[in-house]
Symmetry: C2
Subunit: 179 residues, 2 copies
């Protein structure tokens, strides 16, 4: 049995400042036709910025869709034509004011495979140096630092519920435990 | 500094078979006005179905937005008015044909806080009994089983990249390691 669905045609049903929503007619594995609605996304990067061997930089940010403040790692969308690694450097600097000397790729995560093609690339950033914070005009966030161990305790208590931050922290813990 | 943004008004910009897309005018912490575009989502449930102490049931499913097959745990959206636990039981039965006697809540995860209010509730299901698989008409998937250890190895190799499955597996591993 093949599982693959193939595109018949595609239509943009909404194009806003942030979201690009498509509705495609597709052919199912059984030959029948259906529609798939989804968001076209350029991809994103999330960064684990290590201030020292144990301490990470986090953000508190109000997220309008769920209407609450989330604890997150620095992250952001890939700009058109931008290298993935450059996105990581740019977002870390814009959101926290830090630059990092060493970068390691930790893995990737698709946050919403049912309705978006978004992929998030996860980096570990080390050897940080503080420059200057310069957020987007409509981005308001608080920066704080805490150890990976404390962050994992927050995750266990349900205080860290942002998926990209959960995956990044748990993968980092796994990697550090093995090395 | 407050981080909270408040709604001025809201408008549905697309309502399809799957997606409900809103565009709200909001007041920023600095008093200025902007727009927020996002998807209204009813929430979802993902299930870790343990066949025995070590073995889990997985699915291979083609996901149209990213155009590839993903390895996933059974999951699905909460129906209108449905209890969260009932969604878990229903999706496990529909997608795998199994019912489970014991259910444990493991935690929750917000997959895309930038553009959706979706929250995914994570359950561990044990003491399974096979009834009969009955997928949605346009849902095509393959079922397979493998141990949690094998699944974590796949995750480490980048073969499991679905965020809800990553979070669920890593939280389950963390919980089992501690008990």
């Amino acid at each position: 049995m093949t599982l693959t669905e193939t595109k018949i045609d595609s239509q943009t049903v909404f194009r806003g400042r942030l979201l690009h929503v498509c509705k495609d007619r597709v052919r199912l594995p059984n030959g029948k036709e259906t529609t798939r609605e989804f968001i076209i996304h350029p991809g994103a990067v999330v960064v684990l910025p290590f201030l020292d061997d144990k301490t990470l930089i986090f953000e508190r940010q109000f997220r309008y869709p769920a209407g609450k403040i989330f604890i997150e790692l620095p992250a952001g969308k890939i700009d058109p034509g931008e290298e993935i690694a450059a996105t990581g450097r740019r977002e870390l600097l814009e959101e926290t004011g830090y630059i990092a000397e060493s970068w390691d790729y930790l893995g990737k995560s698709f946050p919403g495979i049912g309705y978006t093609n978004e992929v998030i690339h996860i980096y570990i950033a080390k050897n940080l140096r503080l420059l200057k914070q310069s957020c987007d005009a409509d981005e308001f966030l608080e920066i704080f630092s805490c150890t990976l161990e404390e962050a994992l305790a927050m995750l266990d208590r349900g205080e860290i519920v942002d998926a990209k931050t959960q995956v990044a922290l748990l993968l980092a813990e796994r990697k550090l435990r093995k090395t």
